[in-house]
């Protein structure tokens, strides 16, 4: 059954020294796709700065704000209403999924089409010889990816505050702790190393189910399962992405999906706070 979601996103930015000219870009608007349709978009900011819709380099909707007057704080508020169709991640015919065969994944056309999601990036590059998860040739791709999802879930302990948005996997694997970005990057890095195209997904997770990742934007991964297409895996929660996962954008890693990017001309430090709230009505 379809659900109506209301998503609220707020961000507050404080600057130690007043900034004169500044731009911000938000990648927070839910994607419209087979299971998601937007009913309403509201956006405002405390300074009445000019804003407009645009697109990022991969075609996802952005909101770009430009301010031309001196300020030392600004807050942004967005609200979205969205209808999400029920997603059953297990509604497929397992017999359609071929067994995992790395040779089939070497096909030139396949690698060319998906090179963007096959190559390692600074955030998804695996350190050498870490004893990470290895695909089992006796099981098919989907089973292997599900096993990988569980392996990542168990390999890291969910601990906010230890890693940042640009922590590489070498560090994450040393401390074996992290947040949803790190879980997703690790999943993506291992899938790609096995020749499976995998991409980083940024979005919202419906709260109230006790999942990790509330009150912030969430991240998970999509992997291309031969025979099935792109499937969502949430290694932070050891789940397949389903009706509670509201997708905003995907990219090669976090750097392509940062919910807020700011360019300010000014000196000194700044503090930024954001909050997310997702509520649903059936």
């Amino acid at each position: 059954m379809a659900q109506l979601y209301t998503i609220r996103y707020t961000a507050e930015n404080h600057y130690d020294h007043p900034v004169v000219e500044a731009s911000w870009q938000f990648l927070i608007v839910p994607q419209e796709n087979e299971t998601q349709s937007l009913v309403r978009i509201d956006f405002s900011n405390s300074r009445n700065a000019r804003w407009e819709f645009s697109q990022n380099g991969f075609g996802f909707i952005t909101i770009r704000v430009r301010n031309r007057h001196e300020l030392s704080d600004i807050s942004f508020e967005a609200a979205f209403e969205l209808i999400k169709e029920e997603v059953n991640p297990f509604a497929f015919d397992l017999s359609e999924v071929p067994p995992y065969n790395p040779e089939n994944l070497q096909d030139m056309g396949f690698r060319l089409e998906h090179q963007m999601f096959l190559k390692p990036t600074p955030l998804t590059r695996l350190p050498e010889d870490t004893g990470c998860f290895r695909f089992d040739h006796g099981r098919n791709c989907l089973e292997n990816l599900a096993d990988l999802n569980t392996w990542v879930y168990k390999a890291l302990k969910y601990t906010p505050g230890l890693t940042g948005v640009d922590t590489p996997l070498t560090e994450v694997l040393e401390i074996r702790q992290g947040v949803c970005q790190d879980f997703s990057h690790l999943f993506i890095g291992i899938a790609r190393a096995h020749g499976i195209p995998a991409r980083y997904v940024s979005g919202y997770l419906h709260q109230g189910m006790g999942y990790a990742g509330d009150a912030q934007m969430h991240a998970w991964a999509e992997a291309l399962v031969p025979g099935l297409g792109w499937c969502g895996f949430d290694p932070t929660n050891n789940l397949m992405a389903a009706s509670d996962h509201i997708k905003v954008a995907h990219g090669r890693d976090y750097a392509d999906c940062a919910p807020i990017k700011g360019v300010v001309f000014g000196k000194g430090d700044n503090r930024s706070n954001h909050q997310v709230q997702v509520t649903s009505q059936q």
Binding site: S23, E52, F58, L112, V263
Partner: protein
């Protein structure tokens, strides 16, 4: 004036092993240089000393300087200019020009393919890894059609003459190649110092570069624009080529801007002017891809314009050269140029490529490791002559270091046999005489959808230290006015 016809060349020490541009293999002055040789011979060394100082002062006064980047502090330097011009005959130039045009055409088709159907990769002519491991391949450009289908609006092709007398291309520079302003100021300086010599030769002008550049840029204006506004986007006055950026803006009659002078609204680009915002349609950028737009690429870039890439993707502004062009300006791609030319144009390459070893290939890496002393080892992605090791000049420790670097990151390096660049008589201040110095040639090509323009001239760079093979200005090279003769 000295009456002795041979004064300044009597002590010229001609090494017969080197290819001297002035002499034919029998030791006679070549046809194109004959008159000049005679004219210059009328001057004494003392005259030269004086003229050379005048020319230097003129460069200082015009502010024609560049910066050298090193670990120590950076310095403004004048680009040493040599009063003895380099002359290229009409037939020889025709060969160079057609070869350069051919390469630029092939490179542009290559880039279109890499960001669209990628047939060349599918057909295995160029390995897929070359693209997927290149930091300059922009995934954001996949499927984007640059206005007019042009990626490489401006190219600088580096050519040398080997001691076999043939021309070889060393590099195709398609990421904001610099140097064209020196071509023009060298001509001006030589005219000031020795105007008379021009009366004896029928050389092509070089002052038409800016008008051709602007004209061709305007042919790739965004759709729907009637009279386009063009700007030159510079990283600012601390950039090594700032003089050139300002020179080009001035001679094209367009504004020179920094990123902070521009802004994006409704996915259009505007320039801040005292009369209010003015829409910008064509940006000749002299900043790297990574710095173009901090919202899309490097977020710490203060040189770019927030939202610029979104405006570009929408087709509202032309960026020259197109973002992502750098993937083809890679020394590893260079090695496939003969195949790339055959693949897209079904023609044989007009200009030679230098045999290149890819250290990413195991067997070639082994060869390079064993023959370092006979090879030049270059990083694939550095410009300006930085990071080059010339095998026969290295100490044992340096050879070991190069081996270590190669083993650590083989994909980062290519190696080529040590070529013997041709030499040209060059006035040397220290010895106050003419001596042989190695030279190369950078040509400048501007390409539009209908036609392309190769500047009839170019930058002849001179390695001022005796025996030195690296001619880049950042490595202490000088330059010569370069004449291309009319038929």
């Amino acid at each position: 004036m000295s009456g002795d016809n041979t004064t300044i060349f009597t002590s010229y020490d001609r090494n017969p092993k080197l290819y001297d541009e002035l002499y034919d293999p029998d030791g006679k002055v070549t046809k194109v240089y004959k008159k000049l040789f005679k004219l210059y011979g009328k001057h004494s060394i003392a005259d030269y000393y004086e003229l050379n100082n005048k020319a230097k002062a003129s460069f200082f006064n015009q502010g024609i300087t560049f910066r050298v980047y090193s670990e120590e502090k950076t310095n403004e330097k004048i680009f040493p200019f040599d009063l003895f011009p380099r002359i290229i005959g009409a037939a020889e130039w025709e060969h160079i020009e057609s070869g350069v045009k051919q390469r630029c055409l092939a490179l542009n088709k290559f880039l279109w393919d890499l960001y669209h159907d990628r047939e060349i990769l599918r057909d295995g002519v160029v390995p897929l890894e070359l693209v997927t491991t290149s930091e300059n391949y922009l995934d954001q450009m996949i499927g984007v059609d640059p206005p007019g289908g042009i990626y490489t609006h401006i190219s600088g092709t580096d050519i040398i003459r080997h001691n076999d007398g043939k021309f070889y291309v060393l590099e195709d520079n398609i990421r904001c190649p610099s140097g064209v302003s020196y071509v023009l100021s060298n001509r001006t300086a030589l005219k000031r110092a020795l105007f008379g010599v021009f009366n004896h030769y029928n050389a092509h002008t070089v002052t038409n570069y800016a008008e051709n550049l602007l004209e061709l840029l305007e042919t790739v204006k965004p759709a729907g624009v009637d009279i386009p506004t063009t700007v030159v986007l510079t990283p600012g006055m601390y950039n090594s080529a700032f003089y050139e950026h300002s020179y080009l803006a001035k001679t094209m009659g367009v504004e020179l801007v920094e990123g902070r002078d521009l802004f994006v609204e409704n996915d259009f680009v505007y320039m801040k002017t005292i009369a209010g915002p003015e829409k910008v349609d064509i940006i000749y950028r002299r900043i790297d891809d990574a710095f173009l737009d901090p919202l899309e690429f490097r977020k710490d870039s203060s040189l770019g314009v927030p939202g610029l890439f979104a405006a570009y993707k929408k087709g509202n502004v032309t960026i020259a050269n197109a973002p992502g062009t750098g993937v083809a300006d890679d020394k590893a791609v260079y090695t496939y140029m003969p195949d790339i030319i055959r693949y897209y144009l079904d023609e044989e390459p007009i200009l030679n490529n230098v045999k290149t070893y890819h250290c990413s290939r195991k067997d070639e890496l082994e060869y390079v490791l064993e023959h370092i002393r006979e090879l030049v080892v270059k990083p694939v992605d550095e410009a300006g002559g930085y990071g080059i090791s010339i095998g026969n000049t290295l100490t044992d420790e340096q050879v070991e270091q190069v081996r270590k670097d190669l083993r650590a990151s083989p994909r980062k390096y290519v190696a080529q046999p040590i070529l013997s660049l041709s030499v040209h008589p060059t006035y040397i201040e220290e010895s106050q005489s003419f001596e042989q110095r190695h030279i190369d040639l950078r040509t400048f090509t501007v390409m539009g959808p209908e036609k392309s323009f190769v500047l009839k001239g170019g930058l002849t760079r001179v390695a001022l230290r005796k025996g030195n093979l690296i001619v880049n200005s950042s490595q202490g090279g000088g330059s010569k006015d370069t004449w291309v003769l009319k038929k």
